[in-house]
Amino acid sequence: MELTFNVRRGDGRTKDATYQAYHVDVEPETSVFEALVKVREEQDGTLAFRGNCAVGFCGDCTMLVNGRQEVTCLTTVSKALKDDAIKIDPIPYAPTVKDVMYDAKRFIWDKVNSFSPGVVFNGAGWGGAQAVTDDDLRPVRRAMRCTMCGICDQGCTVIDVNLDFKGPAALTKVYRYVFDPRDGRAKERVVEAGETNGVWDCVHCWEASDHCPFDIDPTHRIMDLRDRSVRLGVKSGTGNRQAARHYNAFERSVENHGWLDERNVAIQSYGGLIKGGLKMMPTGLAALRRGKANLLPHPKRPGASAIKALFARYREVTRTER
């Protein structure tokens, strides 16, 4: 079938991108990637985009196809086609280097490699006393389906406003270590992952899970990391104590009252009554004026003692691993 590619051209600094049209004749089940390779080989060797394996494993051929981020070697042209044409852009949340090629180092590798890499083997091989089971390793394998295609990062609401957020792909890599029972450094790793721009900055919007083409459910992996982190007694990194303060204040409120007292939690998260109170002043005053808040903390509600008992039980059940 004949079709037209409209491909974004220009180096990274080009503000107003120009689109170049390429006409090409391919089979309907040809992938967008292979069709673009054909264009590059037959028509224009200066067209820059990445990709190698052509079978969805190397993760290098992510582009925007008609505005949607896709693993282009797993997207057939017939599926992608819109009015006989396919529009190709570079992914938005990474600096563009040239044409459709993005700065992969800045976008993904610097983030992945900012976390201590490599399993540090703790002796739990197969056979022997510490042997791990297949059930232990299954979640690790699921996370390791990750091809670093970066599609999840493209859906990420935090990266959308802050390119430095590590993002679901890099955090899924941390999950792979923390949940690998053969690695002996879970605690150090959750501290590392908990620094600014790490797990606690995730807003659990579930976009990543919605985006990942390989059913890794990366948002869930981040939430699992947070759960494991709390288990290990870690609620922030070393440079963002407000995350731990937030957690503790939230927990205290629910534990003692059964419910959340947003105002008090906010004050405590910002660092206690004086600092937090000052920070909350403008909002707090406006809230009072509009009848949105009462000065007193929420009273205990019925059921509070039952909730408190659940917390006590939770501490007992999870005590062994603290």
């Binding site: 037959e42 280097v97 089971t133």
Partner: protein, 533 residues
């Protein structure tokens, strides 16, 4: 100047780098793509090792040799099979989450194995091993030259002082100096269509060594994968066989276990594919498709809309593996001092005339480790050599000229023709006439290639230049394959000559080494594969 420079960031290259680094060498990796984007990533099945109670490395060695149809190098087979369990254990301890059965390692029985012997990671061994090795390479502090394409070995006066490489982002050619070089650039799949080729499977390292005077070995043995998704490059995982996959053709089912050997099996499939098509079905259920075959079935679905658990898949054989490559000894040493080779670009003699499933990955890991250790030892016993600048000037002049010449469509057309030619004349069924024709055409193409170029003068990320260089490599490798296939006047393993249909042990229990010369490829027979042997 690095102690050890590894060219190629696939499984073989990363394993070599880790091994060299473990010996205290200062190591760098130069690769065309980011390491984790290398083609090893697409390996779905596992690697063989006698790890299940009752299995022995000798049984593994016996299966390997039987499959190799009398041409495996016994010492290499013994050494690799004996080391295999430890190699798998090392990978596990580096972080590869191999499947277990309970707490014991789980193994699959692949075709050609007498027992369950392949350690696996669902259906994504390549992806997971590659990622794991990369993690450890970063941890080991290895230097990466990502997106650098090596163009030549920097060889002068018989010694190697590094490689000449093109930084894709700038278009600059540099010498990456090293006391020892390990070539781990993968295979030349793009030489054939259909094939399981990725874009970078252009046999660069083989061509670089060949041009620098190193002998290649066993180049006539080109192995096809039996079941590649029709119209695509996706191989259907061999794990499917371990779970009862069946290949149905118009004439009935084809199985690989009728004792006729891998070559006959593949030729029968090719015939059936030409005659009316082959379909793969299996008794696997939705749970398996979601679990064990998740990666394969997801990709099948994306590409064809077919549900592997319910629907038959149209498949056909496609070129998969060159069994030979740069001739190396058991330590990975090539015919050039200070240059080692590992992985798919190396001809170790392990596979003989037909490669066993699960042995390729094993040999990448084994040869990578061996070459890395040997390269580190070489570097530690070698004084820093003076950098040669003639090779750099030569390559700079070559690319400068190429930038001024037309490229694009004529190169694309030439590769299409070459791939068809190799499949037709130097594929599964060969004869003297066809091979001579192929060899002649290759010479003509080389000539035309010399008058073509990059098609543009663009400096950064000039893919036209890459296309030109790639085709240069492919033509060199094609020449060696055609000459070797023409030379071997018998049929053995996956090499089938319709004009010499029988195996001839009296005459052909030898390997062929092929070396480049002004007058074309020169063949030499040898009982060993090692370049000196």
């Amino acid at each position: 100047m690095h102690d050890v420079l590894v060219v190629g960031g696939g499984i073989a290259g990363l394993r070599a780098a880790l091994a060299a680094s473990s010996r205290g060498a200062e190591v760098a990796i130069a690769s065309r793509s980011h390491p984790t984007r290398s083609y090893s990533v697409a390996i779905q099945d596992g690697l063989n090792a006698a790890l299940i109670a009752g299995d022995t490395w000798k049984a593994h060695a016996a299966d390997t040799s039987a499959w190799g149809d009398g041409l495996c190098v016994a010492q290499v087979v013994d050494a690799v099979c004996e080391a295999a369990p430890e190699l798998v254990r090392e990978l596990d301890q580096l972080g590869v989450p191999f499947n277990r059965s309970g707490t014991a390692l789980a193994c699959l029985q692949l075709r050609g194995a007498g027992t369950a012997r392949a350690a696996y990671v669902d259906d994504m061994a390549g992806l997971v091993i590659l990622q794991t090795l990369y993690e450890q390479a970063v941890r080991a502090g290895i230097t990466f030259y990502e997106e650098w394409t090596a163009t030549s070995l920097a060889v002068e006066d018989g010694g190697c002082t590094g490689v000449i490489a093109l930084e894709q982002a700038t278009g600059e050619l540099q010498t990456l100096g090293a006391k020892a070089v390990v070539l781990a650039t993968g295979g030349p799949r793009r030489l054939y269509e259909p094939s399981t080729a990725s874009l970078h499977c252009t046999g660069d390292g083989i061509a670089m060594a060949y041009r620098a005077g190193a002998p290649l070995v066993d180049m006539e043995f080109v192995q096809y994968h039996p079941a590649v998704l029709k119209g695509h490059r996706l191989a259907i995982t061999e794990i499917a066989w371990a779970h009862g996959a069946v290949l149905a053709t118009a004439g009935g089912t084809v199985t690989g276990d009728d004792g006729a050997g891998p070559g006959a099996f593949l030729r029968a499939l090719q015939q059936a594919a030409d005659d009316g098509g082959v379909e793969m079905t299996g008794a696997w259920d939705a749970d398996q498709a979601k679990g064990l075959f998740f990666n394969t079935s997801h990709r099948v679905k994306q590409l064809t809309g077919l549900d592997m658990a319910k629907e038959p898949l149209p498949v056909r054989p496609a070129m998969h593996r060159l069994l030979g490559g740069i001739a190396v000894d058991a330590q990975g040493a090539t015919g050039i001092k200070g240059v080692y080779a590992a992985g798919e670009c190396a001809g170790t003699g392990f596979h003989g005339a037909a490669g066993l499933d699960g042995n390729f990955l094993l040999s990448s890991v084994a040869s990578g480790k061996a070459a890395g250790l040997a390269a580190a030892d070489h570097a530690s016993s070698t004084a820093e050599p003076e950098e040669a600048d003639r090779p750099l000037h030569r390559d700079r002049a070559m690319t400068a000229k190429a930038l001024g010449r037309p490229g694009g469509e004529p190169l694309a057309a030439m590769r299409r023709e070459l791939a068809g030619l190799m499949h037709g004349k130097a594929g599964m069924v060969r004869d003297a006439g066809g091979l001579q024709e192929a060899a002649r055409r290759i010479v003509e193409m080389k000539e035309t290639h010399g008058s073509l170029g990059a098609g543009s003068t663009s400096a950064d990320y000039n893919f036209g230049l890459a296309q030109y260089l790639d085709l240069g490599s492919l033509l060199d490798v094609a020449e060696a394959i055609a000459a070797s296939a023409l030379g071997r006047q018998e049929s053995r393993g996956v090499h089938f000559r319709s004009d010499y249909a029988a195996r001839d042990d009296a005459r052909w229990s030898v390997h062929q080494l092929v070396t480049a010369s002004e007058a074309g490829p020169v063949l030499r027979e040898s009982p060993a594969v090692a370049p000196g042997g």
